[in-house]
Amino acid sequence: MPIDFLYPNYEVVRDQSRCITCRVCERQCANNVHHLDKELNTMFSDESKCVNCHRCVSLCPTRALKIVKTDHTFKENANWTGEAIADVYRQAGTGGVLLASMGNPKPYPIYWDKMLINASQVTNPSIDPLREPMETKTFLGQKPSKIERDENGKLITKYKTPQLELSVPIMFSAMSYGSISYNAHESLARAASELKTFYNTGEGGLHKDFYRYGKNTIVQVASGRFGVHKGFLESCAAIEIKIGQGAKPGIGGHLPGTKIVGDISKTRMIPVGTDAISPAPHHDIYSIEDLRQLVFSLKEATEYKKPVIVKIAAVHNVAAIASGIARSGADIIAIDGYRGGTGAAPTRIRDNVGIPIELALASVDKRLRDEGIRGNVSVVIGGSIRNSADIVKAIALGADAVYIGTSALLALGCHLCRSCQSGKCNWGIATQRPELVRRLNPEIGYKRLVNLVTAWEHEIKEMMGGMGINSIEALRGNRLMLRGIGLNEKELSILGIKHAGE
């Protein structure tokens, strides 16, 4: 139908004077954008298939390619934008739900960018991390409310459930084997192990090759219970119950049968080619008391040797929910903001459901303190941590540690083209096609992840030193170290910070 024709958003611009028809672009593009016209001996491209992932641009040896936003336009309309019109055409044509991936790209406020960090001047010396110890080690887990001593008066130093020890307060967030490739998983696992932190299996089980990274692995138990068995639970350092995800709060997940191939089918413990559908709720958790039972079932099953994390999406009443979780026996609460990534989500949900992680974190931390139960749980947040300054701000607002997903994938080569759902990731990350997966070399991938976290750690230490703080725990919840910029009274009061200049 002509109505359904949509002019491509991006155009492939080829400088023919530079092109040497080496056909690298053609071989690299899983979307078949490029082709050679043999008679003319000229490369042409079909931009309607282009997802703007930059694979061809990055590999073109003569820098002959670039991708530009098209200047083709509908008649300007501030309300009916080109995107809004196109979505209607698509749905009128197909009757389907719009699908998207990665985090919410809409221009909502980014509160990280509206907070500024303090530094010492005169009354208090700043500390040079190159000369003095600067500590970023963090323990996650329930803290005792009362110390105990043995009959000789000696402190009893054993915790009810072990604590997770992180050398830096940064972990890799849940991304399942299936939604991302074997090589991506291997890169994350090896990086976590080298960095002395943790990565998360997501809901999809754990490939047998990766059991050896167990002490740096968090395994996930989600509503589909895919890949969950005794060995899986025992393989890890901690167990995460996934209730929700920031990119799609309130709904489940769907890994199409086409991705359930070979090892993925084995790891998920479902037949090859069947769709892996995770229900929206856990069907054994319809209320908070049910959550408590699942927490303790998992603890019983692992003899109280593994801390339990409960992960929720940041939604309107997140503070009350977190308070319930803090009393459920869970050791750690993970909160995922509405900008958190995903391998596939309904577009409307991704773009309209949930709240910013900055506000969710501030209100959860405050609520737990108001109720005197902040020590019951550690708080880990994710949902678009883009750099080390975001982390410093998150910790000052009250987080114990952060999860990074999108930034980790960017380190592996993701160009945020937001087409994961197609399964044709040219960078070898969100795909199961062997010829694409091979493009991600885990040897290089893990080093890039280590580099990223190490660089951020250096920056965190510099900022801490500037504030005269030499240990990360003294930054946690230290909201006087933050000031708002361009925020209204209500936003400042939710964030619990003063405005710059105050």
Binding site: S120, T123, N124, P125, I127, E132, P133, E135, K137, F139, K143, P144, K146, I147, R149, L155, T157, Q163, R369, G372, I373, R374, G375, G398, M467, G468, I469, N470, S471, E473, A474, L475, R476, G477, N478, R479, L480, M481
Partner: protein, 364 residues
């Protein structure tokens, strides 16, 4: 300008302390002389003293020292105290006119004991009962401020240079086995008497020099346990942290010091396994009570005195010893002025708590 309690106010300072391990009591002249040497470390916006063993005749009673802004506040507070406590004695705290000390509030003291019936009804032990009353008066009664609430000890403080404050309160008339003193150099204060140091809760008194960078992390954590940091000063937060760790959690002073100025992980990891586990447990369990940034504090408590520096030793602190006396001060000169012939002089390391106690068998 807003009063203390509305802004977090950093300040630099001078501190000094004298302790007799034999429990010999001596008047306030020496401590005034000592703190006066460090005149330039204060700016006249606050000075004060804590003295232990000064009320032997009332040693089983809590001594409340209270500032009142008005007669109404005094009446309201006294009605409150009378409804909760047996009051065995009350009087205006004796002072003398000093030119440099102005804008005096009404200053009274009361020797009290919680009424047994009310205490039982509230199911609180005596100390907790007193803490809650102090918090109540200080936050709820406008113009009243209880600045000292321990047994057989007292705090004396004002806006002014410490040597003037000592003369003002006639400290030569009190005899204590332990004195601490403070001269304040706040960078931003309206000059409120309650904001001067020492800061005290029950028999714990803290004088502090420094500006802690962990303030809001500490404050927001300690407030979970019923403390209200109404002054928003570092010293107040440190006092509550110590009260929480020692009185409520039952840690020793040594253990509390290992929380507040916890050793670096590198140091902890180099210890023998048992010690390592203990230090890790303390640091991790009370992680939010780690205090960073420069500080030197003197904590007075019944029968003892603890000196503690931050982990990097970003503030000076010197200790001198002569016979039964221990002298601790920001600067050595303020020790030498009262005891030129010291047997030992040393500077404790960063994070190393020095705790002196009365010799065994000494009663005060």
């Amino acid at each position: 300008m807003r009063l203390e309690g509305f802004e977090h106010i950093p300040s630099g300072c001078a501190i000094s302390g004298i302790f007799s391990k034999a429990g010999n009591r001596f008047n306030g002249e020496d401590i005034i002389k000592s703190i006066a040497v460090m005149h330039d470390r204060s700016n006249g916006l606050g000075g004060g003293f804590a003295a232990y063993g000064i009320y032997p005749q009332y040693k089983d009673f809590y001594a409340f020292h209270i500032f009142y802004d008005s007669v109404t506040a005094k009446e309201e507070t006294e009605n409150y105290i009378n409804s909760m406590y047996e009051v065995v004695s009350m009087e205006k705290i004796p002072t003398r006119k000093v030119k440099a000390i102005t804008d005096e509030p009404i200053i009274w003291r009361y020797f009290v004991k919680p009424m047994a019936v009310i205490e039982a009804e509230k199911q609180l032990d005596e100390d907790e009962f007193v803490v809650r009353s102090v918090m109540y008066v200080n936050s709820e009664i406008d113009g009243a401020y209880i600045f000292s609430s321990g047994k057989n000890m007292g705090v004396f403080k004002a806006v002014g240079f410490p040597e003037d404050v000592g003369v003002y309160y006639k400290l030569e008339d009190y005899e204590a086995y332990c004195w601490t003193a403070h001269g304040r150099y706040p960078t931003n204060t309206p000059g409120w008497w309650g904001g001067a140091h020492p800061f005290a809760m029950l028999d714990n008194s803290v004088v502090h020099n420094g500006e802690i960078s962990s303030y809001d992390a500490n404050r927001r954590y300690i407030e979970m346990f019923g403390y209200k940091c109404s002054l928003l000063t570092d010293t107040e937060a440190i006092t509550y942290i110590i009260d929480y760790l020692v009185r409520k959690q039952g840690l020793t002073h040594e253990e509390a010091a290992q929380v507040i100025a916890a050793p670096f992980w590198e140091t902890i990891d180099s210890k023998e396994p048992e010690e390592r586990e203990k230090l890790t447990y303390l640091r991790n369990s009370f992680a939010s009570l780690l205090v960073t940034g420069p500080f030197s504090i003197l904590l007075g408590f019944t029968g003892g005195l603890m000196a503690l520096n931050d982990r990097l030793k970003l503030r000076s602190m010197v200790i001198g010893e002569k016979q039964d006396k221990v002298y601790i001060a920001s600067e050595e000169d303020s020790i030498r002025i009262i005891e030129p012939n010291l047997e030992r002089v040393y500077s404790p390391k960063g994070g190393e708590a020095v705790i002196v106690r009365l010799n065994e068998g000494v009663e005060v």
